[in-house]
Assembly symmetry: C2
Homo-oligomer: 233 residues x 2
């Protein structure tokens, strides 16, 4: 099912933002819908990578939409039978995000305010989902995420990054090596430009792009198999 990277179109950060605006504007999607579908595809791709042997999943969520995708993914991972723990240090007061936290609380999924130490992560988790920063990240990494990324860079457990490896320049990749080096990248809607530099397991999620968006932005999207919410690239 894999397809050659040459066959794909990669999106600049600014184009990814434009697509989001169109989806939530003239195309009639709500952010609740898109985040649910994105988070579900993150959970299904993570589950394909983790299979039965990586059960204890730490989902580290940033302050924006990428973090919201992580909150949704953690809920679905629970329903898939995994043992997710969420770290969500900068919580937003928006009702959507508060609802996502409430949903996790109703499942007794722990939501931590601080990242465990590198030693504790090594001991207590099999895999880390990086839902810290997405395609709208730019500039300096602000507190507390600079320390969080620095800690995550020390661990040997595999990292699954949502859409963009946190700390990477969305267009240029891991500039100065300050970002994470994930084992798995789950591109949402379409791969971002930085994904050209990614060498690990690459999934595509977000099976909802209308032909008008595909054509306007020149996306070359491979087909998804069967009913799947994700596909390998």
């Amino acid at each position: 099912m894999a397809c050659s990277l040459q066959d794909l179109a990669f999106l600049e950060a600014s184009k990814a933002a434009e697509i989001d605006e169109k989806l939530m504007g003239p195309l009639g999607f709500s952010i609740d819908q898109l985040m649910e579908l994105a988070g579900l595809s993150v959970a299904t791709a993570t589950s394909e990578y983790c299979a039965q042997n990586l059960q204890r999943i730490l989902v580290v969520c940033g302050p924006g939409n990428n973090g919201g995708d992580g909150l949704v993914a953690a809920r679905h991972l629970y329903h898939f039978g995994y043992k997710p723990v969420v770290c969500y240090p900068k919580q937003t007061a928006k009702p959507l995000y508060q609802g996502l936290v409430t949903q996790l609380a109703s499942l007794d999924v722990p939501v931590l305010q601080e990242l465990p130490s590198a030693e504790a992560i090594e001991r207590d988790f099999d895999v880390v989902v990086d839902a810290i920063f997405g395609f709208s990240f730019k500039g300096e990494i602000r507190a507390p995420f600079a320390d969080i990324i620095s800690t995550l860079k020390k661990i040997s457990k595999p990292i699954v990054s949502v859409d963009v490896p946190s700390g990477w320049d969305v267009n240029e990749g891991n500039k100065g090596g300050v970002g994470l080096e994930p084992a798995v990248l789950i591109s949402l809607t379409a791969p971002k430009l930085c994904a050209k530099h990614f060498k690990g397991h690459h999934f595509l999620g977000g099976r909802f792009v209308p032909p008008a968006i595909r054509d306007e932005f020149g996306l070359k999207l491979p087909t998804y198999p069967g009913l799947s919410r994700k596909r390998p690239l």
Copy 2:
């Protein structure tokens, strides 16, 4: 994967309404989220029934949430490679529903205001999804849905009902034989009381029920296989 019907708990209409209120109140779900997940499970169960040979799907949508599930399902069926056509005669002005219609329009999925004739349905479609009335239906069938159900009762093509076969009393079943007799029923969250009288292919969808709801309402929910959004009952 099938389980005995004796192993299930069936929900009265009033209890199903209480669960919805809890999900969208203290449990923090938005209707956008729940409808997206419900409609996706309808699409996946319909796809399992239709396989490759039933491609032309007429999705008949009522004025409420059951109709909204149908609008979502039609979109996912498009992305799964089917050829859905929607009939949505009583459209609501709520932004969520208008958005769902806009999403279908962006995929060039036709949205009809009137049901085709029985002859046209026989000729042009392989299967009909009945998303007319759900668990909150009671009393008389109002126009234009009395005529619609009457027309659908004439066709020989298989009907897939969402949550409750339209025209059935939610607790007591097909009283007076006025309701549809679907080949397939997709129960959402948990089967309603009337599903005890259903003899066809029965699926369960809605993989998001927290243990607190399961325990409070005495639901006996079978496990879902793998990552699936539905399971046979």
